[in-house]
């Protein structure tokens, strides 16, 4: 009789969940196990705590399938393991309330504070959807064209999905590792100025590592400051500072999807996992509004094209033909100092003192399709090793390329 009795209140929420969860159980179980973060300290780690998000999704699935007893047991286990996971408490409250009256929505509390309830509901929806739209591990984010030999991994943030994907560099190939729920700025993405409480869209480098003990509790167990505003942001007049990846306060396991001042916030265990592998000046964080994925052959094609584009530019430097070199630059070119092409190029030529490169080699090349720009844009970062006669020098450079007609042209070049 109990199941019939409980069947009714569960139904309405169940319907809602079925819509959310439709068509994903096959992937679900796989995703649940794969989203367990890799353990940094492998020193015989004891039976790890359950992955909270996998458990949460299982609870919603049970709910959708009318398995209320199982859902309740999991909710109890979830809040026991993660007592500050508010969404866990919310779903547990819903499950309990079903015994007393019908539950029609996530967080059916009669007269709870509407804003807080909405935030938790949004988090629930975003987490459920992330499972639904879990990337195929065989696919690769389109934005990541090539990672340098010196880069261990690359982080890709999707602000629409509130998700951060981790890819590992395995000999130039990208391998999907895991993904995490993240919070972003209160007003979403597309940061343009200081204090707008938005998260920037672009390609950024981790430029510091701040351990938890040096931080206020609010930032959790560590922080990875990003290179916002970068060259492109500055050129576009975007202001602001202090965009970090960081953790959560000790009393709150995870924050609502839209809640930061522009930072990307992760649960502490997830942040720790990123923190342990992040390298200053090397680890790239690509933040885009909607990450697109492509299959391996398409990715390889695009990577090769971008790579060839850069190589041709490099080879052009070995010729003394200035016009040939200049053909790689856009009339819109501006240097870091704001010089136009003629001024900047003149300065470059002058520094060579009439000599010419005998060889130009590029190494540690990374290429990213830049997110959030209306036209195609690629940012390249590399070390240029040039020889003029017997003198050699190596310089770390960054360029922004845009497509003009059928040609890719450089609109920014500077030291990185």
């Amino acid at each position: 009789m109990a199941s019939a009795l409980q069947g009714r209140p569960a139904r309405m929420l169940g319907r809602l969940l079925m819509l959310c969860l439709a068509g994903l159980p096959a992937m679900g179980s796989e995703a649940s196990s794969s989203s367990i973060p890799p353990q940094g300290n492998t020193a015989g780690a004891p039976a790890a705590k359950p992955d909270p998000e996998a458990l949460l999704i299982d609870i919603y699935k049970d709910l959708g399938a009318n398995r209320l007893r199982e859902a309740q047991a999991k909710a109890d286990a979830l809040v026991a393991a993660y007592p500050t996971f508010r969404l866990g408490h919310l779903v547990r409250g819903d499950l309990l309330l079903m015994h007393a009256r019908p539950v029609r929505n996530f967080g059916a509390m009669a007269d709870g504070p509407g804003d807080k309830l909405k935030e938790l509901r949004d988090e629930a929806m975003v987490r459920i959807r992330s499972l639904q739209e879990k990337p195929d591990p065989k696919l690769i984010p389109k934005a990541v064209l090539q990672v340098g030999e010196d880069q261990k991994n690359v982080l890709v943030v999707d602000t629409t999905r509130s998700r951060l994907y981790v890819y590992e560099n395995q000999g130039g190939e990208l391998k999907y590792m895991t993904d995490y729920y993240v919070s972003q700025g209160r007003f979403g993405a597309n940061k343009t100025k200081s204090g707008d409480q938005r998260t920037p869209i672009g390609v950024y480098y981790v430029n510091n590592r701040i351990p938890g003990p040096k931080l206020p509790d609010f930032y959790g167990t560590g922080a990875l400051p990003l290179s916002y505003p970068n060259e492109w942001d500055k050129r576009n007049g975007r202001s602001g500072y202090g965009i970090w990846l960081h953790g959560t306060p000790s009393d709150n396991f995870s924050r609502p999807p839209l809640s930061s001042d522009g930072c990307v916030v992760l649960a502490n265990p997830d942040l720790q996992s990123l923190y342990s592998t992040a390298e200053v000046g090397k680890t790239v964080v690509v933040i885009s509004q909607h990450v697109q994925f492509v299959d391996k052959s398409e990715w390889a094609k695009q990577r090769d094209a971008a790579s060839a584009m850069l190589e041709q530019w490099g080879q052009s430097l070995e010729n003394a033909d200035a016009d040939k070199v200049l053909s790689y630059y856009s009339p819109e070119f501006r240097s870091a100092q704001g010089e136009n092409l003629a001024t900047w190029f003149g300065r470059q030529q002058k520094s060579l003192n009439g000599a010419r490169y005998t060889s130009v080699k590029l190494r540690d090349v990374s290429l990213f399709r830049y997110p959030g720009t209306p036209e195609d844009m690629i940012v390249s970062t590399f070390t240029q090793e040039s020889a003029v006669g017997k003198s050699k020098n190596a310089i770390r450079k960054r360029q922004y390329w845009v497509r003009e007609g059928s040609q890719w042209k450089i609109i920014y070049e500077g030291n990185a």
Binding site: A4, R15, N66, L87, G93, L97
Partner: protein, 525 residues
């Protein structure tokens, strides 16, 4: 998982429930028989077993034919009709099965099983509101479970609110009222716990939790109750002593010990007469005239010797003691009726004492004149008793007749007034006007589960104030008035933010002063 397959799963779940119910047929059937003592059950036990065999073999068509055949002979039989409902459900003839179980709930509103099966069928059909109402009625067949269920709901709601507090970081305790759970005031369930240990242990756990939460309150109530009982006992003792004193003082002036003993004996006899009043009244009234004639004659013939007088007194005393012992035992047994009966008994006692005093005087007169056989004296005594009872019965009857006549005269007018009272009561409830609501109940309202008036009133107050919104609609009311008592049968649609119940109800109103007040509430109609 596609929504379609989801739907499928839940239907299967319910189907499984029906099958489970079906496999329990034997158990449920015997329960039905036990509850209603349907005498036909034994008569068609073998048919029942045949039907069960067919059902187990999945031969539902044959089972149905057989059931219908037996039903033709015993059309009201609850067990057979229940079985028929099960077979129809197994055959997926839901509409017919629903009809069978619905009729069963009408004819046997106290049986939980038909409601349950009705709920399963409604749920399988997606009619969840009806399923909920049916399950609610199933729980209400046992007030203990209904209360426990309601309490469980309150505890779950409280747990949910604590979980929400943690989810939303609300400071707990701030403006969150504690749930007001209802204490059961008596034990009317299965006290051994032997047949349904799972339920019993669950109830024990529930009780433990509640005991902890409300230990102080319960203790206080216990103390109050003990105090009240003690007071009542003292009052009763005082009344009794007074009555005895009156009788003795009257008798002593005439004839000291003998008369006093006799008065006591008479009193005991009168007590017994009161206890047996219901049956005695009628017989006594029939014989009243003859008895009176005999008594006159006996009195005229009375000539009692001083010695005989003494012997008789001794015999009377022994008899009185015996009778008092019996009466005491009876009194212990019928504690529930104690107060009402004692009041009646006291009135009788006064009369009897009076009669005894008169008789003692007559005895003395007679003794001075004649000495007669003790047997005659004993006969005289018995007759005098009967006379007293008969006179009272006659007086009661006359009074009742008069009241009845009067009541009938104004019955039609009263019906309208009773209906107005019913509507006023429903409105007060809907308005959550607890003061007015409680004002519709008679001072001697028969509280459920033997709770005291105060406990009951508090419980009602808590239950009503607890709800955000209440609507009580009354329809199809029929009133029948008998003297001061009005019985109202009606359909009640109760609607709160937690619960909707559409049910048949019966209210017994009693006229007190110029108001009709509720004396009793019953489910079913």
């Amino acid at each position: 998982m596609a929504p379609e397959s989801q739907e499928q799963t839940s239907i299967h779940g319910l189907r499984g429930l029906i099958s489970k119910t079906a496999h329990k047929t034997a158990v449920l059937s015997s329960l039905v028989a036990a509850l209603f003592g349907v005498p036909a059950t034994l008569a068609h036990a073998s048919e029942m077993s045949d039907i069960n065999k067919l059902m187990r073999a999945g031969q539902y068509a044959d089972a149905l034919t057989k059931t219908d055949a037996v039903l033709a002979k015993h059309p009201r039989d609850a067990q057979l009709r229940f079985t028929k409902g099960l077979i129809l459900a197994e055959q997926n003839r839901s509409a017919e099965a629903i009809a069978v179980f619905s009729k069963l709930t009408e004819d046997f509103p106290d049986l939980p099983e038909p409601y349950n099966n009705l709920a399963v069928l409604y749920a399988a059909d997606g009619q969840y509101d009806k399923a909920r109402a049916a399950l609610d009625m199933a729980m209400r067949t046992n007030p203990t479970y209904a209360t426990a269920l309601e309490n469980l709901g309150d505890v779950y709601a409280k747990l949910a609110s604590q979980a929400y507090d943690k989810a939303l970081q609300i400071d707990p305790g701030a403006n969150v009222p504690q749930p007001k759970l209802t204490l059961l005031r008596s034990l009317n369930g299965n006290t051994t716990g032997g047949t349904v240990p799972r339920l019993a242990s669950a109830a024990a756990a529930q009780r433990d939790a509640k005991a902890k939460a409300e230990a102080a309150a319960a203790e206080q109530q216990e103390r109050n109750r003990a105090l009240a009982a003690e007071k009542l006992a003292q009052q009763a003792a005082a009344d009794k002593a007074e009555a005895e004193k009156t009788a003795i003082s009257k008798a002593t002036s005439e004839k000291e010990k003998a008369a006093a003993d006799k008065a006591a004996a008479e009193k005991a006899a009168a007590d017994k007469a009161a206890a047996d009043k219901a049956t005695a009244e009628k017989a006594a009234a029939d014989r009243a005239a003859a008895d009176r004639a005999k008594a006159e004659k006996a009195r005229a013939e009375q000539l009692a010797a001083e010695q005989a007088r003494a012997q008789k007194a001794a015999a009377d005393k022994a008899a009185a003691e015996q009778k008092q012992k019996e009466l005491q035992a009876q009194k212990d047994k019928e504690q529930a009726d104690k107060l009402a009966r004692e009041q009646a008994a006291r009135a009788e006692k006064d009369k009897a004492a009076q009669a005894a005093a008169e008789k003692a005087q007559a005895d003395k007169l007679a003794a001075a004149e004649k000495a007669k056989a003790e047997k005659l004296a004993a006969a005289e005594k018995a007759k005098a008793e009967k006379l007293a009872a008969a006179e009272k019965a006659k007086a009661d009857k006359a009074r009742a007749d008069k009241e009845k006549a009067k009541a009938e005269a104004s019955a039609e007018q009263d019906k309208a007034v009773v209906l107005a009272a019913l509507n006023g009561w429903a409105k007060a409830w809907s308005d959550k006007d607890v003061r007015s609501y409680l004002g519709h109940y008679a001072s001697d309202f028969e509280t459920p589960r033997g709770a005291s008036r105060k406990e009951w009133a508090e419980e009602r107050r808590a239950r009503i104030e607890d709800k955000g919104r209440i609507s009580v609609k009354v329809s199809n009311a029929t009133v029948s008035i008998n003297g001061n008592i009005a019985t109202v049968r009606y359909r009640q649609i109760y609607n709160s933010d937690r619960l909707t119940v559409d049910s048949r109800k019966t209210l017994i109103f009693v006229k007190q002063g110029n108001r009709w007040l509720i004396k009793q509430e019953r489910s079913g109609g």
